[in-house]
Amino acid sequence: MEKFFKLLIRYKLLVLALFVAVAGFGYKAYKEIPVDAFPDITPKQVVIYTESPGNSAQDIEKLITYPIESAMAGLPGVKMILSNSIFGLSYVSIFFEERYDTYFLRQLVTERLNSVDIPQGWGKPVMGPNTTGLGQVFWYRIKDNSGKQSLTRLRELQEYVVAPMLKSVDGVEEVIGWGGFDKQYEVLIDPKRLQAVDVTYDEIIEALQKANRSAGGQYLEMNREQYLIRGSGFYRTLEDIKNTVVRAKEAKAVTIGDIADVRAGRAPRFGAVSIDGEEAMFGMVLQRSGTNAAKVVERIKEKIPLVNAALPAGVEIETVYDRTEITHKAVNTMTSALLSGALLVAVILFLFLFELRSAFIVILSLPLSLLIAFLLMKEYGISANLMSLSGLAIAIGMIVDGTIVVVENAFRLLHDKPEASKIDIIAEATAGVAKPVIFALLIIAAIFIPLLSLGGLAGKLYTPMAIDIVFVMLGSLAVAMLLVPVLSYLLLKPAKHGVSPLMRGIKALYLPALKFTLHHAKTITLLAALLFGATAWLLSQQGREFMPELNEESIMYRVIGIPGTALTQNIETAKEMERYILKEYGTEVSSVLSMIGRSEKGETAQANYMEVLLTLKPGIEDLPALAKRMTQDLQERFEYVQFVPTQPIAMRIEELLEGVKAELAVKIFGDDQKVMDSIASQIQKVLGTVEGLERTEVETQLGQAQVTIRPDFLALSRYGIGADEVMRVIRHGIGEEPVTEKIEGIRRFGIVPKIDGAKNDIESLGAVMLRSASGKMVRLDEVCDVKVVQGPSFIKREDLSRYMVISMDVEGRDIASFVKEAQLKIDKEVDIPKGYYTRWAGDFKNMQEATKKLMVIVPITIVIVILLLYTAFNSIKKSLLILLGVPMGLIGGIIALVMSGEYLSVSAIVGFIAIFAIAILNGIVLVSFIDELRERFPDVELETLLKDAASLRLRPVLMTAFTTLFGILPLLYVTGVGSEIQYPLAVVVTGGIISSTLLTLLVLPALYLLFYKKEHK
């Protein structure tokens, strides 16, 4: 070993060059790695949506959703299939196992889709964009400052100018427009006039379709030149449509103009966007999965001046939401934690070492290890996000541990052996601590590696963190073992060991305490065990949650009206609400955006649903208080709708949790929606009696009023009218489905033979006249049963079984205990018929899954650690002795967690894992030194040896503890986006370090004494 270090020192220039290069590449990597707010937590899923305009949820479920679901069920790797059939749309989401490649899965789905049998005219299934759940990286508004452009025109600009240009940006998967009106050309027919001109509705459709044609006629040659022949029959003007001949009798032609008015109109829509009290044209850019959000947004921003140039004068793109803002906020939070951590560590090091040169070496190892970690992050495609950066922040104190030990030893030996060759001393010093350092760092890495196997959302969230810790620890190992000997050789000088006044003070306190514990070893050990038992009990009583809520520094609401609320009503509500917010909260809110219903592509929201995002002015002091006050105020002012506070990213995360937009939910499975509805009411009643319930919301699937038109076949036969003709009238004449298109350049607008006044009210629907080919005339309600009924507004299914959701918020209590109590009450008080069952979902399920995984992971980790310790010390007894230090660390962690009032979340659990590592590290440092002393002075009494060892190792132990503590301390105090996610972790680690250090220094020697007293004698 010594030879290796000597070699390193001999080729010092090479080593230095290597690290300079590594640092350079590391810095480049730091600049280039993808930056995002969150790790990509989207499960492997492929979405299939089928637009089926005008069709009801029941029909869509039967004819579209079910065939798609059953075709997809047989695909390899399918974990779960969720679907939602709503008015006009089927949405099927297939979740796959993580090991498959997205493109391969999309390929499989495409192949299967070909075999799905959907009736003609019921829509074409398409795959949703290949994006992540957090893929909406950029929101914009097409703003008309000139006041000349209508919403229809703005929509046209979105579709044919803005979207294609933004789609061409690298990394953009899809650009979705929301709001405005789709232009269509309406052939407004009064069916009564059909009698006068002797034509039928079908003939009008046919005439429109046949007239709007073009054809290529190849070419002709004349005078050695080629003339192309082109049949150009596409409609060019409205007059062309009017002049379309429907029926020609001798020379008397009946044209569309004779029987209908032709005009430009607006297609029925399912969503709208309102900004600051006015309807607006809005767009969202989705990034392709696997791309760098920050880069994509950057490129979009670069493109925007070009898009603006392509827009008419006075019209421009205005940014509404930009993912990079939150990303930068989150990254800044973590970067500032990292930097202040590094600074604190540097200060601590100097205070302890009290010597500039050694402090410089140790401090230098900080950025170098981080740069190595960045290099590895880039290599393995890990983005810099809240979680991965927090991994670095957690490890910042541990990075220097290896270096400290090496430098400390070198310094000591240089001081002890001033006559020896420097190269020999440094090599000896490094080799002396190489084993414990390598093992300690390997153990830290080993402790975090099992986190990688954490599946589900927790796995996706915490894997980048664990990997980064491993990376940075590897980096620190490389620095400690390769660079530090060289730097020590070059920089350290044999000098009198500067004793820091801080150390002097600490020692004065520590030694009497140690003496006391060694004298009362048994009692102290017993007390420590009791203390651990007590705190373990405390922990078992502590509330649990999956993840602390991310504070995105924004206010957002999901606003839900009653099922069946008309889009126009909800638009009115949105406008009124926006004006109210701006009036009452003008000092804090600069803009309010409401996204009502659904956008054009595969969203499942209905007209009664909207998402309201507030743009806040800078400098708001107490955002949570403002949000609370505003929520209460809005709830009172607009009490006919429900306000559910949420945040942009949190909401998307919630949606990814099995499509349940709540932290906790009960899913009721079964067949009949009415039965499920009744079960839901019962459960809701029961939940009301459970302590901690803040709000429940039954996802009402029923309550959508429907006008059903059921053909009376006998009655139809009397008039010679086919049911298909009736359906065509309903589809095109009433439902406004275009029969052909008017092509204007690259733009296409539907031509709709619309029945005038058919949708004035329910009565006028029944009064629509039908005319048979033979001329017979009849009202729709004379040949069809026109009835108003209430049906489902949507139908949700999971793995081919229908379900209903009751979502809830739990406040002032941990979710796990709430669920336990609620489940007991449900079992006791709710009558659930056969064929129906319930299941908990939402955040809680993730917690459950994560806990289950951790139950396996933690024992495995312990075994790995014991194996590593055994390899290092070649003694089971010693391994166990070191491992016994772990509960000592946990005691502080638990006390800190309980005192802070934080719940036991995955974040806190990761904190405990970190303590595990620290405790082991402390144990190794002390135990290996005691062993060394025992070897060197076998005759000295064990108690004296222990006192000396503890006293000599006090500085490195305290240094590693303090660096870790101060490294992580900023995470406790840092505020800003993302800080709350790591807060529980920081709390646990802080408490854990304190107790672990104290107990390592006091209880571990006592334990050692108990373990080896007899042996030593």
């Binding site: 009653i562 709708v641 039954v698 009402t700 309550g703 009064a767």
Partner: protein
């Protein structure tokens, strides 16, 4: 009547202005339907002007669409027959004068005893016979529009005149045609003779009351129509029953066979309790209206009196409430109780039995009973919200 009492315990604080309460009224209900109608004329309303003599059609004095009055010139026909008749008339005049002279000389001879009584009788008969022929011819000429007294020489010009007021519908014979006697040459339409056949569903027709009124809409113009009777046969082509209306047209011309829209109003024939259309909504599969339940209404009336100020009052109340009890455990219940006193509404299942204009006849509401006439959406939202999104503790 099935009644559903779901009481709403929630305040309609600021949206009170959107909720309008009215009283259910007894209203007479009729029915209004819109159908196709065809403008027609009955056969007895059409006239044809004939040339009573054969001849050559020289000219028309009219053209189609021209309004004519009784006696107006219609056409000129050169008639040989008229020429002969007028010549005969002139000749008969001369013959009559000769016969008269002969009769006078025979009378004087008879008085002198130079002629027998027989001779006198013969002359008398001859004179009377010529006179009768002439008178007959005079009357024929007069009926053809020729004044015999002014006839000095034979004429062949026959002026055909309108024999009633009307509108020239068609010129039936081209000019310069040789006509035979009794050939119709012009079709005349009496302006008061437009009718409309409304095509309505068979079931509707069978239940049609006798007293109905119609209004014909054509190209933005409206014509009042009087219902005459239901034609005994359905229209074979359309399979619709046919109602005959007389169009009470003013002098505006109408185009025959044109299709137009007929609005048929069946007059109020039955009294029902009526609520505004805006009051009805579908709730749990049934049509309902919302009615203020006992005690809630007075409070509401009070708010109405305050007009716009109630917004403030309510708001202040909320604020105060929040100040002193917002955080204790019972605060939610207090709020509950407070709202209960204020404006409870109940859901009333109704059965729509008829519609007319903006009103719907319903069973399930008493006359004079108050109901939510507008702003139903807000009331329904609150009720559903209280059912679905309950608050916990």
């Amino acid at each position: 009547m099935k009644r559903l009492f779901i009481t709403l315990f929630a305040a309609l604080s600021l949206h009170a202005s959107d909720v309008v309460i009215e009283k259910a009224e007894l209203k007479s209900f009729g029915k209004q339907i819109h159908v196709n109608a065809k403008i027609v004329q009955l056969s007895n309303q059409r006239q044809q002007i004939v040339s009573r003599l054969g001849g050559h059609l020289e000219r028309y004095f009219v053209e189609p669409g021209k309004k004519v009055k009784d006696g107006d010139k219609i056409a000129e026909v050169k008639s040989l027959e008229l020429s002969r008749m007028s010549a005969d008339y002139i000749a008969l005049g001369k013959k009559l004068e000769a016969a008269k002279a002969r009769l006078a000389s025979t009378e004087s001879l008879y008085e002198k005893g130079l002629a027998s009584k027989q001779d006198l009788n013969r002359e008398q008969i001859a004179f009377a016979s010529i006179e009768a022929d002439r008178n007959a011819l005079a009357s024929q000429l007069a009926s053809l529009g020729v004044t015999p007294s002014s006839l000095k020489k034979p004429t062949d010009t026959l002026i055909i005149r309108a024999h009633s007021d009307g509108l020239v519908s068609r010129l039936l014979v081209p000019l310069h045609t040789n006509l035979s006697a009794e050939t119709p040459i012009v079709s005349l339409v009496r302006s008061s003779g437009y009718y409309a056949i409304a095509y309505i569903g068979v079931a509707e027709a069978l239940n049609m009351p006798k007293k109905v009124e119609g209004e014909l809409h054509i190209d933005g113009k409206s014509f009042r129509c009087r219902y005459l009777y239901l034609l005994p046969k359905v229209d074979e082509e359309t399979q619709r029953a046919q109602m005959l209306f007389w169009i009470e047209s003013d002098s505006r011309p109408l185009l025959l066979n044109a299709f137009a829209e007929m609005e048929i109003n069946m007059p109020p024939f039955k009294k029902h309790v009526a609520v505004k259309r805006t009051a009805l909504t579908m709730f749990e599969g049934e049509w309902v209206v919302f009615v203020p339940s006992e005690g809630g209404h007075e409070e509401y009336a009070e708010h109405d009196e305050h007009g716009g100020h109630d917004e403030h009052d309510e708001h202040d109340e909320h604020d105060e409430h929040g100040e002193h009890g917002g955080h204790d455990e019972n605060s939610g219940h207090d709020e509950h109780a407070e709202h209960t006193e204020k404006k409870p509404y109940e859901v009333r299942v109704v059965e729509p039995v008829g519609r007319f204009g903006g009103y719907i006849a319903v069973k399930g509401v008493e006359p004079g009973e108050e109901y939510v006439a507008d702003g139903v959406y807000f009331v329904k939202s609150l009720i559903l919200k209280s059912e679905l999104g309950g608050h916990g503790h």
